[in-house]
């Protein structure tokens, strides 16, 4: 008996144990971040609109998100009659896979990383496409026209904005000469890449706002047009998974932007992980700030903006970077 356990540990190996512990940590970070962010969002929205925001539930309303999540957990699991059940059930689960996977490769600090994969950024980009797929099948499976339109919008938007997103990351990959996120963060010991690549940073940031479906690019869930967009028919737990994924995605794109352009965990005096979170949350705050300031763009304007401005500019940027580096 004892033998087998030791055997198993041996077989499993240190690496796996480390990964499992890391995954648990990631899970905690994801949940904590989402709870924190929902509270921040409501509080920031409140103060931008000159009101208080959540206040009465817990000190400063800090327990508000807990109350919400407990309530959502305790809600009746309601499945509408006409939905395509397998798709309808699969979508909220599927949207959570990329979220978890992505956290594995993000370097929170020089040593604080679940696993450094040498194709790190590819992992993130590859799995982030699952988000689109899950929105698609969620919208499709809901058997609701608003959901369907939301889903179709989401796909068109994601296809359009994935390209400038990638093209904006490529110059940095060229400069750092690596796909690994830690290498990229390490390469910015001297100066942040945002200094060399301000245009790429702007393009990436705009594209990532679109990728996370935030205002001014929140067309898939445009409230005034499509009720609640692709998750119109979702309730309780399943809805909260979408909710959670949205807020985690916000964190992820900010974390990537920080790692790629703002020096990652680099920073004086304070430990790296603190710097990392400070920078990330500052970017998240800008995302929130955007949301509570701007109106929503129209669908064709959104696509035009990507195809006519972002993609050519990012191509140009890539060309110039490549030329300067190699000549």
């Amino acid at each position: 008996m004892c033998d087998t356990i030791i055997n198993i540990v041996n077989i499993v190996g240190k690496e796996v144990v480390r990964t499992v512990i890391g995954l648990v940590g990631v899970f905690i970070v994801v949940l904590g971040n989402a709870i924190m962010l929902t509270w921040t969002e409501r509080k920031v929205a409140g103060h931008i609109q000159r009101r208080i925001g959540p206040k009465e539930v817990g000190p400063f309303g800090l327990l508000q998100s807990f109350a919400d999540s407990v309530k959502l957990l305790g809600k009746e699991l309601l499945t509408p009659a006409n939905v395509e059940k397998p798709l309808y059930f699969l979508a909220p689960t599927l949207i959570f896979v990329p979220v978890l996977v992505t956290f594995v490769v993000i370097p929170f600090d020089g040593f604080l990383q679940v696993k450094d994969i040498n194709t790190g950024i590819l992992v993130i980009l590859a799995f982030s496409s699952l988000t689109v797929l899950s929105i698609l099948i969620g919208g499709w499976g809901s058997d609701n026209k608003y959901s369907l339109i939301g889903a179709v919008r989401s796909v068109a938007q994601n296809i359009a904005y994935e390209i400038p997103l990638l093209l904006a990351l490529l110059p940095v990959i060229l400069m750092a000469n690596s796909f690994s996120l830690r290498d990229i963060a390490e390469a910015q010991r001297g100066a942040w890449f945002v200094v060399y690549q301000p245009i790429a940073f702007l393009i990436f940031f705009v594209a990532s706002v679109a990728e996370t479906n935030r205002t001014p690019f929140d067309l898939p869930e445009a409230e005034s047009e499509l009720v609640a967009g692709f998750h119109t028919e979702y309730s309780g737990m399943r809805f909260s998974l979408f909710f959670l994924a949205e807020y985690t995605n916000m964190f992820i794109v900010s974390a990537i932007a920080v790692t790629f352009f703002l020096g990652g965990y680099q920073g004086p005096i304070l430990p790296g992980v603190v710097w990392f979170f400070i920078k990330t949350y500052l970017l998240v705050f800008v995302l929130l700030w955007f949301r509570w300031t701007f109106p929503r763009v129209r669908f064709d304007q959104l696509l035009n903006f990507s195809w006519k401005i972002l993609i050519p500019v990012s191509f140009l940027n890539l060309l110039v970077t490549g030329g300067i580096l190699k000549l």
């Binding site: 009101r51 208080i52 959540p54 539930v57 327990l63 309530k71 309601l78 609640a228």
Partner: protein
């Protein structure tokens, strides 16, 4: 006055987890997400309650969900006509339980000033359609009335009132 077709019943569950139930009740009472469902004049006062001056967000109830599937609370703010009644009932049924209803304004409570002999298009009180938990009278009620209704609902869910009672005025 028509006859009520709904009676509020409270069934005790067979197994009870006292602490868990209490936590759940507390969470539910403090995170009442209303559905964006404005009918008439009172809808403006409902909006006022969620705006900067009165800020319903302090109680965590500012998350107005446009989809009934994600809402817990239906604030019936305005006159319910016979043409609207089936839609209101559908929306109520689409909300996942536990769910609550606040009848805001006199129209929602009893038809209000629009009741007269020979009327042909009015539902005289939304409690003839769906079970109502809290009644907030007024034409329209002040936003404070709605906030007070929200607190009364919290009291109804958890059994205790957390907030001070403002001085009554007559």
């Amino acid at each position: 006055m028509g006859k009520r077709s709904f009676h509020l019943e409270t069934k005790d569950p067979i197994i009870k987890f006292a602490v868990l139930d209490k936590i759940l009740d507390l969470a539910r009472a403090n995170s009442l997400w209303p559905i964006t469902f404005g009918l008439a004049c009172c809808a403006i006062e409902m909006m006022c309650a969620s705006m900067a001056r009165f800020d319903i967000a302090r109680f965590g109830a500012e998350v107005f969900r446009p989809s009934p599937r994600q809402a817990d609370l239906m604030i019936v703010s305005g006159t319910v006509t016979k043409k609207m009644a089936p839609i209101l009932v559908t929306l109520y049924e689409q909300m996942p339980s536990p769910k609550w209803v606040i009848a805001m304004g006199n129209c929602a409570i009893s038809g209000g000033p629009f009741v007269f002999e020979g009327q042909y298009n009015l539902v005289e009180g939304v409690d003839l359609l769906v079970p109502v938990d809290i009644y907030v009278p007024g034409c329209p009620p002040r936003p404070e009335g709605l906030l007070e209704g929200l607190m009364k609902l919290e009291e109804k869910i958890t059994g205790t009132r957390r907030f001070p009672v403002p001085e009554p005025k007559w």
